[in-house]
């Protein structure tokens, strides 16, 4: 059952909490087919949690997530797994299987889900590795790769089953400028050439804004701003301004909430 509407992923009225801490409070997000959508916000706003909710690894307290016409959390286990075959996800540090080499890592989902002959798997793996520029690294073990290469191999693995969408969890964190540039270009290129839909969770503003068609800013469990990069730059929202310009103080205060400073100093308490 495939929905042909313009929206691939629709999140409606989503609330989620961990213990007593509310992570999301009634948020709505729409992700268009074929677009690159960025979910941005300061650390600890639950951006990764959002990806896990979309992937069905976590259950929301309220609200629903519809991916390609299917309500993720109403699916049975088998159906959810069928849906996940069409979703790729790139984890923050690649999450490659450390006991097998690059080639076998990319071949892993193909061998698990298809009965293709090994010759055909070889061709597919080499094509995917070529797409991320690492065909020559097929015999290396994950421990021999740099952080950027790990993510590229993981990207090749994520596109191995030709998914309809890919979710990127902080793809740019801790990358040097060259591998950052490579990843930025790859994400856009793969999205357009393979007809994917991409969701990037990140707080690297410049890189993400350069390739994102649509940006959602999250803070305090709410969507505080939404629009293209240009729209957000011109938005009147104090919060969006602080985040995009990287100002140290603003709606997100520099100081962690505390008693009055003078009072605290003069009180002379033990701590």
């Amino acid at each position: 059952m495939s929905d042909t509407s313009d929206i691939l992923i629709s999140v409606r009225g989503l609330s989620f909490s961990r213990g007593s801490r509310q992570i999301f409070d009634d948020i709505d997000i729409d992700i268009k087919r074929g677009s690159v959508t960025a979910i941005m916000g300061p650390s600890g706003t639950g951006k990764t949690t959002l990806l896990r909710l979309i992937g069905g690894q976590l259950r929301p307290d309220k609200g629903n997530v519809v991916v390609d016409g299917e309500d993720v959390h109403a699916l049975r286990r088998g159906q959810l797994y069928q849906l996940r075959k069409r979703m790729g996800m790139l984890f923050q540090n690649g999450a490659l299987l450390t006991d097998i080499n690059v080639y076998d890592n990319v071949a892993f989902p193909l061998r698990e889900h298809t009965h293709l002959p090994e010759r055909l798997i070889r061709d597919l793996v080499l094509m995917k590795l070529h797409a991320v520029g690492l065909r020559g690294a097929r015999d290396l073990m994950p421990s021999e790769l740099s952080g950027g290469m790990l993510r590229r191999v993981a990207l090749a693995r994520a596109i191995a089953l030709d998914p309809m969408m890919i979710m990127y969890d902080e793809p740019f964190t801790g990358q040097d400028p060259i591998s950052m540039g490579v990843l930025v270009r790859l994400i856009r290129l793969l999205n357009d050439t393979l007809g994917l839909t991409s969701i990037i969770v990140s707080h690297d503003i410049a890189e993400t804004a350069a390739i994102a068609d649509d940006i959602y800013l999250l803070s305090g469990g709410k969507v505080v701003a939404h629009g293209s990069a240009d729209e957000l730059k011109q938005s009147g929202s104090e919060w969006a301004k602080q985040f995009i310009q990287g100002l140290p103080d603003g709606p997100v205060p520099f100081h962690y909430p505390a008693d009055d400073y003078a009072h605290d100093l003069l009180s002379g308490g033990p701590n």
Binding site: G55, Y81, G88, F91, A95, T98, H113
Partner: protein, 263 residues
Amino acid sequence: MKSVLDHLQSLGQKGTGVFERLGRANILFARILAGVPGLFLRPNLVIQQVYSVGVLSLLIILVSGLFVGMVLGLQGYNTLVDFGAEESLGVVVALSLVRELGPVVTALLFAGRAGSALTAEIGLMKATEQLSAMEMMAIDPIRRVLTPRFLAGFISMPLLAAIFSAVGIMGGYFVGVGLLGVDDGAYWSQMQDKVDLYDDIYNGVIKSIVFGIIVTWIAVFEGYDATPTSEGVSRATTRTVVHSSLAVLAMDFILTALMFGGG
């Protein structure tokens, strides 16, 4: 007053925590078993694990078995010789090993060598998001990672226990017959006469199967349930060794009571 209530509350929380973990362990066990039929189509996954869980534990089992057997030979001889019954040394060594020491010591060594490795491996796979990544690739990590490891432990443990007992009997032979001068024929013929296939050997095999299930179950559960940090994995590994050793010893008493007790 408040602190008493606080203590009571934390006691209660710990109590429910224990039962919650037990419940999770049982659910996991059921899900592991549900994955067993699928492995008949992919025996390679199990064979790989039998190698790392079983074959790699062989050395420690061989060496320990030999020494335990040699000690049994020495101790048994010193006791028996006072009664002029040193010809029964073979029986003493064989029964001690086949009924008790083979399954129990193997299980304890297995918990330390293979159980801890399983927990650490699975815990680290969880900490580095490899298990999550599998889930997102629509591959059930329980079936792909846990079930083959569990099955490998289930298969390896009785074989290791049998090897332990066999090597131990040889160790007893070297000391008793080789060094202390027990009659060669008497050592073997008395053993052949007194060791019963059903009462002794089968019961020993049943024990080792039960211990294999317990140790591997605790090991894979602790790994899968570990807090995904380096400290969490190290705690889980310790818990595997402690809990499975205690469980093996307690279970050994229950099984011995059922098999040999009273009647």
